[in-house]
Amino acid sequence: MTRHLPIAAILSVLLAGCASERVVLLPSADGHPGAVVVRDDWDERLIRTPYTGTIRRLGANMPAETSAEDVNARFGAALAAQPKRPTTYLLYFEPGGDQLTDASRSDFERMRKEIAERPAAEGLVIGHTDRVGSAEGNDALSKRRAEAIREQLLASGVDGKRIEAIGRGERDPLVPTADEIDEPKNRRVEIILR
């Protein structure tokens, strides 16, 4: 029994040597430069140029150059299965309450249509306010705005389990202002569909 153990150990090392691994950085859809760091027990490699990466041979990660064609040949099925990218909608409110502006009502309709068409759509509804009124009051108002949009989505037939509503108060203004400034662009709800 014990005599076979070293053979098993050698075999597993040989098998591990046969296995190959590949990591390739792709261009980012949003144009921001990205990077990947590949680490093993001995080494660390930073990949920052699209279509370059590492390939593992003889137990070590070596730099590798590749191309869009090669990535498509190896990873075409995985890339084709990639879910649709999340989209973001911004809806604006009349001052002080949870009534949408007229322009935002038609955006709401577009969003409702996209939810119906997107496979297994989920939504995160984030309410925001301008800086008129107290910070605590605005926390409550932002949450009320998000809930109002969620309720409207539910009323139009969207599954409530898949829509989450949260409030961020006046913390994340689109247009930074001094306190107590009435800023229509900050009275908004952001909806991220995924």
Partner: protein, 154 residues
């Protein structure tokens, strides 16, 4: 003495970071958005077919068959998709949508994986890692592919 205090302080900090990262449904990581051919989720010893709309939980193992492919969107907008004969495990995932903080650890046992990172990578890229049988990948808000050829079936 100082050292032990520091260790306690660090562990408290880590404890706090974990507790704020947990949202109302801590074990839901994401949802299947695309599914083709044979795709199953192994969860607590059971095999569940992974249709579009199936929730993906922490500790789930996703397996695609020879003709299979699957796409999952995680709660922070990270897109994971695997090609044929692939095995993928969601080792860790937590995300607080209000503060947009969290972390994840994803394990590629074999096959092909495409990744487009989401909100967590924008805010705290150091809290994300991807594991292959031999290496650990760290990311900075990015898109990449990984192949593990000849990996194990487990």
């Amino acid at each position: 003495m100082i050292k032990s205090h520091r260790a306690l302080y660090v562990s408290l900090l880590v404890g706090c970071a974990l507790s704020t990262g947990v949202n109302a449904a801590p074990d839901v990581a994401g949802m299947v958005k695309t599914s083709a051919g044979s795709v199953v989720i192994e969860r607590a010893g059971k095999r569940i077919p992974a249709f579009v709309g199936t929730e993906v939980l922490v500790a789930d193992k996703l397996r695609t068959g020879e003709n299979g492919a699957v796409g999952v969107t995680l709660a922070d907008n990270t897109l994971l998709s695997a090609g044929p004969s692939s095995t993928l495990v969601i080792d860790k995932f937590m995300y607080d949508s209000t503060n947009q903080t969290g972390g994840m650890s994803i394990n590629v046992r074999k096959g092909t994986l495409a990744v487009a990172t989401g909100k967590i990578a924008k805010k705290t890229p150091e809290s994300i890692d991807f594991h292959t049988p031999t290496s650990v990948l760290g990311v900075r808000g990015t898109e990449f592919v990984v192949e593990v050829d000849g990996g194990s079936d487990d």
